[in-house]
Structures are given as C-alpha cells and as structure tokens.
Symmetry: D2
Subunit: 162 residues, 4 copies
C-alpha cells in the first residue's frame, strides 16, 4: 500500500483545527510547563517541537483515529452503549488515555509525568476543549488527551535535544 | 454517569459474534498455545478464562472501540486517508496493536510474548478473520488483534492462577 | 519454581520501610489527590486500597527490582556509567518511569494522569524521598516513582470499585 | 548532569559482548524474521538498523539496566527473594518483559508482534542465551528479552524506512 504521510499530516492538522485546536495552542502548553526549566525557551521553539512530533507516523495515526471517533460520536454513527461512554467522557473508559500514551511514548517514558500533569490541571486550550466537550451533542473525549499528549511529547523532545 | 457493565459485556460479546468470532474460538487459541505447558488443560477451562478476561472494563472498552471502528470503516463513515489505512490493514498504522496491548496488559507484561506469537502465526480463527478482512469492502483491522489479545490475556490468567 | 508471594509481599513492604516509606504515607498521597472527588473518602479506605495494590505480583516485582537497584547503586555495586545516571537521578534515564508505568497500569490507563500529577508536584512523602535522594551517596531514583505509582494505582482502584 | 551517550553506547555494546551477544547475532535474528518480506534484505542492512536502534537513549538505558541486574544476580549481590526470581527466570516475574517493551516500543507498537514471535520461538542466539541462563549460577533473565527486543525494534525500523 502506497501511503503519503504528507497527506496524512495535513489531514491531522486540519482535523485539529476543525475541532478548535491550532498547533500554536499546543505549543503554548509546552511552553507553559517547560519555561521554568529553560530560561530562554520561546514559543517558536516549542512550535517547532510540536511540528516535529507531528512528523511521527504513530502520532498522526493516533490523532486521526481519536478525533474521528469524537466526530462520529457527535454525528450519531456510534451505537450504544459506546455512544454514551464517549458522549459523557466516562472516566473509566480509558481508551482515550491508551491512545494518548501511544503519542507521549514516542519520545520515551519520560513524557508520562508531563502528560499527567497537563491532563490533571487542564493546562491552556485543554480547559476550553474539555468545557466545550461537556456541552450537549459535543464530544471531545479523545481530543483533550491527544492535545495534552502532543504537548507532553514536545516537552520530551525539548529535553532530548537541548 | 451510571454505567451497567453487564450491558457493555453483552454488547461486546454480540459484536464479536456478529463479526464471526465466538468465545469458544478464542478459547481454542488459548488452548492451542498453552496445552504444551499444562497436560490437563481443557477447552472448558480456557473458555472460563476467556470469560473472565471479558469481565475487565478496559478489555470491554477496547473491544467495543476497535470493532466499532472496523464496522464504521466498512459502512463508509470514515473519511480518507484514515479510511484507506483501515480498509487495507496498513502495516504501519499501529493503533490496532495499541488497543491490543491495552487488553494483553491487563494481566501484566507476561502476555506480550503470547500475543506476538499468536498474531504472527495467525493461530486458529485469526487466520480466517485476517483472510476475510482482505476481501473487498471488509475491514478486520482491529478484530484480529483484539481476538489475539484476548486469547493471550487468557493465557496469562492461566499462568497466574494455576 | 515454587514462589510464596506472601514472602515477596512482606519483603517489598519491608524494603519500602527501610527506605523511609510506610504504607500510610502512600495512602496519604492517594487521599490527597482523591478527596476532592469523594466527600467521604478516609485514610483507612485509601490504606486498604494501597494494601490491595500490593497484592498484585507485577507491582511487587517492580517494587523489589526498583528499590534493589537504588540500594545497589548506593552500595557501590553498580559500574559506571549506569552508576552516575542512577546516583544523579538523570532526567533522561527513563527506566524508573518504565517500572512505574508497569505498576500504574495494573488498574488500566486511567492511572496515568494521577501518576503524572503526583510525580510532577511531588505530593506528600515523595517530596521528602526526592530531597533525600539528592544528598550525597543516596539514591532514590526508583523509589519516588514507585511510591507515586502505587498511590496512583490505589486511586484507580478507588475509581473502579466505588 | 553532563552525559556522554557515546560512552554509554560503547558500554552497552561491551556488556552485550561480555554476555556472549555480538551485534551481528542480533542482526541475524532481524534478518531471519524479515527476509520473507523483503527479497533483497541483507545482513549488512540489518546490522545497520541494529546499530541505529542502539543510538536511542531509552534503548541503551534499558540494556545497561537489564544486563547489570543479570550480572549482579550472578555475583550474589541481590537478596532473596528477588535473587531466586532472577536466577530461575521465573515466568511470572515480568519485569524483563517490561524493559523489553520499552525497547521494542521505540519504533511504535508494530514491533510487539515480532518481539513476541522471537521470544516464543527463541530465534537464533536467543536459544543459546536462554540455555546458558539455565546452567547453575548463570542468569540471563533480562538478556534474552533485551536481545529479542533490539532485534524486533530493528525489524520495525526496516518497515518504517523501506
């Protein structure tokens, strides 16, 4: 099978934007959690790392898959009882964290801590994504974890490359 | 949110049957890979372990999610380029293995070996599932990994309880 | 091989105590991060969950292994360059998080968030463990992650059983 | 902390050789399991991929840690009951698979299948490592999984780059 990952990358970034998340929003999360460790860290550098995370195939496949599930849940294409688990972001569902972990782990286990912290405190855009997901007929069950995971992976990449 | 896991369990088992996999088929895989280690291991005992694996919430959520994606891909509800990745069971997609890993790991890391072996050799029903998934308009991208993962988890459970 | 997990359990708890961590200290972390979600959660209930986490074989094996590495590093039995990575709790080492993840994951992926949060904020005894690990000739590289992972796993267990 | 990964890399390769495993032995495993998919795959290309896997920090840290535990168990520096779990390569220990997974996963979840297959069939040098580990006073509990994991990661790298 002939796969063009430039197409997949563009689609993944489009999907994130359609769901209200720009790459700069993700870069802001990375900056927020890393600026205390690096005096001269800039938003441009963080954005560069986010862009690099989004060159990884497993990351792109996780983004496509997770956001697609959110959208299909909203569109009514998913049957019960999975529909309700998704529409309510049920805390014991866990598959959103499973996908997030596959993203974070691209730069090794050191990203786990940052992911957990971002997810718990709903840093930056994640707070908005989460709130929007709680309105009727909206589903951001995967989106918030995916965004947090990309931000955490970018933070790991900074640690590996600086 | 009030969730009845008996409903989820029944739905997961129904979905597997609709896709052509009975629990006894999964138990047969477990027996096949474990009989050399336990002289007196029976198909009934294996089936009992498979049933117990399917009491775990994370397993049920992974089954519902994975099989639902397969079905939605067949029904044409998933957009390109994800659609093609799924319909062709693209070898670098990887999210099917991510979900499978979340199932296998329910009984710890010792299940990894059995999962890999089952998946590589397409033991039992997995060979049929895989072949069927290669026919036009059919998608078993998640199903084969999910079935292998349940069988491997059941094997781990045998090792833990005997 | 005949293995008595009661012996292993007792040894793991002894090792934690020798390194300055009582089970009640771990229960306090669990209470701290979960009390906002459950009005009537008590320290006794948290301790009960911590005790149950320590009935899991993979958890006990991870505790024994991680703490043993810390001790052997202090005793000078580990050669360079691994010795320095351990004695300095090198941020890109990562194997401490790998072991922690194997503990957290015993109750599924939902524990990742709590682990990350605990680890980042160094909740409760973890702050002390971490500070002590930074004194000369002391190594708590694995201990702090292991303690945080047990506390996070106990929090997941509460979510699953309440 | 100033860490020279060239030093760590050399030490990891030295340790593997001291334990009886040359990189060419690992490359042979990769070739064995991948030659059916790529007509023109050579041992030199496989060796190149093995060398690249051993440029990854998390891989090197896992190799150093795992092999060091094996050696310390043989030298009598590890106390009971962990000593016996290690010296007997106890099947429910699981921490060896945990470390192996952290290696395999460096190139994503697609490596799981190959790892499981290699580990189950004890392909190539792994059979020898495993047999040697069963002789008195020898411990290869981590070594066999680590070698299998590097070979599986190299196979994933081939799939990603070809």
């Amino acid at each position: 099978m002939n796969v063009d990952y430039e197409v997949i990358r563009n689609k993944a970034i489009d999907l994130l934007e359609q769901r209200g998340v720009k790459l700069i929003d993700i870069a802001k999360i990375t900056l927020e959690i890393q600026k205390q460790y690096y005096d001269n860290l800039t938003i441009d550098e963080c954005l560069d790392h986010v862009n690099n995370v989004l060159n990884k195939r497993e990351v792109l496949n996780a983004v496509l898959t997770g956001v697609t599930i959110d959208v299909l849940a909203e569109q009514g294409h998913i049957e019960e009882p999975l529909k309700s688990l998704l529409m309510n972001d049920y805390s014991l569902y866990g598959i959103d964290e499973v996908l997030a972990y596959s993203i974070v782990n691209v730069y090794g286990s050191i990203g786990l801590t940052n992911f957990g912290y971002i997810d718990k405190l709903k840093v930056g855009i994640i707070g908005e994504v989460d709130k929007l997901g709680k309105t009727p007929n909206r589903c951001n069950t995967f989106l918030d974890d995916i965004v947090g995971a990309i931000a955490a992976a970018a933070a790991s990449r900074i640690a590996h490359t600086r």
